[in-house]
């Protein structure tokens, strides 16, 4: 459970080790908010980069009005309903979930990830399950989910594969945010879970890029990202040179005169965004896939080269459904590297935070399993 501590916000200014949020153990199961809600007993619940940022207090304060404390983290969830059915939870707490009528314009248009009512309706504020005090989250033995959030898991799909569906849906959605008919060149910066999945999604999209280059830091990431569909893989520091050559661009200083049509920043740091701006072609698009925070970046190239910067947050229902296919086709269940019982949460979080260095990809909790 994550609680807010005002004193720690001040302390965090002195030392980032003094995070403004506090982890504690939740004792009570969340109550079912109303009709259409089900109890879900998580089988596997992934640890995502945004969870880690929340836990150690690096998240943007933008989220303050759209989360409610205390909350139980965990939005990548495969679990069991009381009737024994296995489901994956689509965590976005949209109008349908919140019993908001009429639905907002975005939900009405099917763009539920952009719901305008995530702080309103029958539930306390919360953009997703795992950030809302009413729903609980996947890092627990029980949580609640609305029927509108549930996706049955095919029998043939393993729990490991099922827990990858939610992040894979993010990747499917991100891949759709590139230039339409992305038959040109694309680069993916970062090869953590999101980067790997984005490469897999791009390679298997309806209009895959002609050339897909990925920058990966660690050896196992390079191996995986190539296997998932990158045409060329390089170290992050080599990306500019690789793309210059691959696109037959010239260079002026560190700037490429050309570049790639689409850059997918799956890191979300100032450095990765600055690099994305250096390698995006004039008129190109940068898709921000990794969750950013407060960032200081020189946007001059964005202006001078008319680059489009767009976010890719979560997914729509169709993305989620497509993700089931992607997970099966690319065998993404293999990316689950480690499972931890809830009581070893500190080890699990340490492992997830160092996943790259420890040759891991996805670290997950396995509540209630006999370890």
């Amino acid at each position: 459970m994550v609680e807010r501590s005002v004193a720690r916000f001040a302390a965090a200014r002195v030392s980032s080790r003094l995070a403004p949020l506090r982890l504690d153990t939740a004792r009570d199961e969340p109550k079912q908010p109303g009709p259409g809600w089900q109890r879900v007993r998580p089988v596997l619940a992934g640890i995502c980069g945004s969870d880690l940022a929340t836990v150690d207090g690096r998240s943007s304060r933008w989220f303050e009005p759209i989360v409610s404390f205390p909350f139980v983290p965990g939005h990548e969830v495969v679990g069991l309903l009381d009737d024994g059915r296995r489901v994956v939870v689509e965590p976005v707490l949209k109008c349908a979930t919140r019993a908001v009528t009429p639905a907002c314009g975005m939900c009405a248009a099917g763009r539920t990830n952009l719901c305008e009512r995530i702080a309103f309706g029958d539930l306390e504020p919360g953009l997703q399950t795992g950030y809302c005090t009413d729903t609980g989250g996947g890092w627990s033995e029980a949580m609640v989910a609305h029927d509108s959030q549930l996706h049955p898991v095919p029998d043939a799909m393993t729990d490991e594969a099922a827990v990858m569906v939610e992040p894979a849906a993010c990747a499917v959605h991100a891949a759709r945010q590139g230039p339409s008919g992305a038959t040109g060149t694309a680069a993916v910066i970062g090869a953590g879970t999101l980067g790997l999945l984005t490469v897999a999604a791009l390679r298997r999209s309806a209009a895959p890029p002609r050339l897909l280059v990925a920058a990966a830091k660690h050896p196992h990431q390079r191996h995986l990202v190539a296997e998932l569909g990158a045409d060329e893989v390089c170290a992050p520091g080599e990306l500019e040179r690789v793309l210059r050559r691959a696109t037959r661009s010239l260079a002026a200083g560190r700037q490429l005169t050309g570049g790639v049509a689409a850059v997918f920043d799956c890191v979300g740091s100032a450095a990765s965004l600055a690099q994305a701006l250096r390698v995006a072609a004039p008129g190109g698009t940068i898709v921000l896939v990794g969750m950013p925070g407060p960032t200081l970046v020189d946007l001059t190239p964005l202006w001078q080269r008319e680059v489009t910067l767009r976010g890719a947050y979560a997914y729509e229902r169709a993305d989620f459904e497509a993700a089931f296919g992607l997970v099966a086709e690319a065998d993404l269940g293999r990316l689950v590297s480690a499972r931890y019982p809830l009581e070893r949460y500190r080890h699990a979080l340490d492992h997830a935070a160092a996943a790259g260095r420890r040759a891991s990809v996805k670290v997950a909790f396995a509540p209630g399993k006999d370890h």
Binding site: R241, R248, L250
Partner: protein
């Protein structure tokens, strides 16, 4: 009387032996029974090089008239000269090229030739800087020609600057400098530091385009070049000869002037480098200790500038002029007189130290690809007959092999090292998959033409230069190198020579024969 080359049998009384280690040195003990191959001592130089040059120009060899009779008013004369890659290290002024070019220009002036252009025959090498041109040609020549634009450097990527002269009987494209192709006379001024250079190779590489070069600068050719120092057993030279003969048959008249140098390679303060260790006097030992200790404490960048500042006290041992092939045969005779060392039989393990400079890092950085080329491309090929090391044997190389590149001189090398060698070190595979993209990359072309960059394809040629050795050897171990860089090259790193010999025993057995190539100064092992 200079002593010839020498093969020492190491015994328990043999002192530690000097190994080059880039811009540093190491003293190493080799197991008793090992051999050390020393170069011959420097031959006596020509007493009056300028007179010898004039004599050669007036008394040409082969089917050629004396130079003055080939010169007339109104003619177009192009004087090509070897570029910065020769000699190594650069020689003390006056450089052979200056002496020869001045003599040719004097004769051209006497004959009333006005249309004279100097052309640096740099092929796909980087352009030379003004100080480098002044060093090679002298200030008088530079100041007379550079301001009026008549001192030029070959640009293989200038579409208007090259002319296609057709193909040889083997289908090789012959595309050379348009200025040279359309001249009434081409004079080529060469310095033969090694047997690989000179002859028809001068024009067929120095003023030829990629379209032409790719016919002999390729993996298959280099695998069948045994060795680069023996043109009669070299597929590369056979191709160059066909191209050279085609150039002549196309009506391009060439007057070749070749010079040889003795092995007087290092100035006095580095005198110990040219001596045999057991003959070191107290002064040499003190000098070695002082130089070596101070180099070990000096930052790499300063060490580099110290070594790159060396001017070799080379002296001219011969000059011959006239028809290309006849001239080159004489050149090889003179070169062999200086460099050949008879060696009996091959060895299981060949050790060598790679020095601070090779043909492609003058005033620059010896990056890992150049370390590979220096050891497997050049030193391995310093043989005639059979390689010094047996097939399946092991090469042990001393060099720090830093992961460091000169960003101006070697931009495509960085990409080659980071991307190409990361994927494969197989010359045939990387040639097929990557060469063309690098060779035609517009950015590399731009840097080659306007900056001081080697051509985009050049790192491939460095790797092809290693192709024969890569095919022949059972393993390559680099002592004291950056482990990551060494592994990227496909070689094995070792911390010490003892470790390297232990590692080599996995390939060649527990009781291998060992030979050490004590160079530079350079030699050619005549392996019987």
């Amino acid at each position: 009387m200079p002593r010839p080359g020498f093969v020492l049998d190491v015994d328990s009384s043999t002192p530690p032996l000097l190994f080059w280690h880039g811009e540093q040195f190491r003293l190493q003990r080799l197991p008793p029974g090992s051999r050390v191959i020393y170069p011959p001592e420097p031959l006596d130089p020509l007493p009056d090089p300028d007179a010898a040059i004039r004599h050669a120009l007036l008394n040409p060899t082969g089917d050629s008239q004396p130079l003055p009779t080939l010169l007339r008013p109104g003619m177009r004369l192009t004087i090509c000269f070897d570029d910065i890659s020769l000699p190594l290290p650069p020689m003390k002024r006056p450089d052979n090229r200056q002496r020869v070019v001045e003599a040719v220009l004097d004769m051209a002036a006497e004959a009333g030739v006005d249309d004279v252009v100097l052309l640096a025959a740099l092929g796909l090498h980087r352009r030379m800087t003004e100080p480098e041109l002044r060093h090679a040609l002298g200030d008088r020549v530079y100041d007379a020609f550079a301001p009026s634009g008549r001192l030029t450097q070959f640009d293989a990527e200038d579409p208007a600057g090259v002319t296609h002269l057709g193909t040889t009987e083997s289908g090789e494209d012959v595309e050379i400098s348009a200025r040279a192709a359309h001249s009434d006379l081409v004079v080529y001024v060469n310095i033969n530091l090694v047997a690989m250079d000179g002859g028809h190779k001068s024009l067929s590489t120095g003023i030829s385009s990629y379209r032409s070069l790719r016919h002999h600068h390729n993996v298959r050719t280099l695998q069948n070049t045994r060795s680069l120092m023996d043109r009669h057993h070299s597929a590369l030279h056979s191709s160059a000869w066909r191209i050279g003969r085609h150039i002549a048959a196309s009506g391009v008249k060439v007057f070749q002037i070749e010079t040889t140098l003795n092995t007087n390679t290092f100035p006095d303060q580095f005198g110990f480098l040219s001596k045999r260790e057991w003959e070191w006097k107290a002064r040499d030992r003190v000098s070695y200790m002082a130089v070596s200790a101070s180099l070990d404490r000096t930052p790499a960048k300063i060490r580099r500038s110290i070594f790159q500042g060396i001017d070799a006290p080379y002296q001219m041992t011969s000059v011959q002029a006239g028809e290309v092939e006849a001239v080159h045969e004489l050149t090889l005779e003179n070169l062999h007189r200086q460099q050949l060392v008879e060696v009996s039989g091959q060895t299981d393990i060949l050790t060598m130290g790679v020095p601070f400079v090779g043909p492609y890092n003058v005033n620059s950085i010896m990056n890992p690809i150049l370390v590979a080329c220096g050891s497997l491309g050049y030193f391995f090929n310093l043989y005639r007959g059979r390689p010094l090391v047996r097939e399946g044997g092991v090469l042990i190389v001393h060099h720090p092999t830093p992961w460091n590149f000169h960003p101006v001189h070697h931009p495509s090398y960085i990409d080659f090292f980071e991307q190409v060698l990361a994927e494969t070190t197989d010359p045939l595979v990387l040639e097929a998959k990557f060469e063309e993209a690098f060779a035609t990359d517009p950015w590399y072309v731009h840097l080659y033409r306007t900056s001081y960059a080697y051509h985009g394809v050049h790192p491939f040629y460095m790797w092809y230069w290693c192709a024969h050795a890569l095919q022949h050897l059972g393993g390559v171990i680099v002592v004291g190198g950056d482990a990551k860089a060494v592994r990227r090259l496909g070689f094995k790193p070792a911390s010490t020579l003892t470790d390297a010999l232990e590692m080599a025993s996995d390939v060649v057995g527990r009781d291998p024969s060992i030979s050490h190539l004590h160079a530079p100064p350079l030699l050619i092992a005549d392996v019987r």
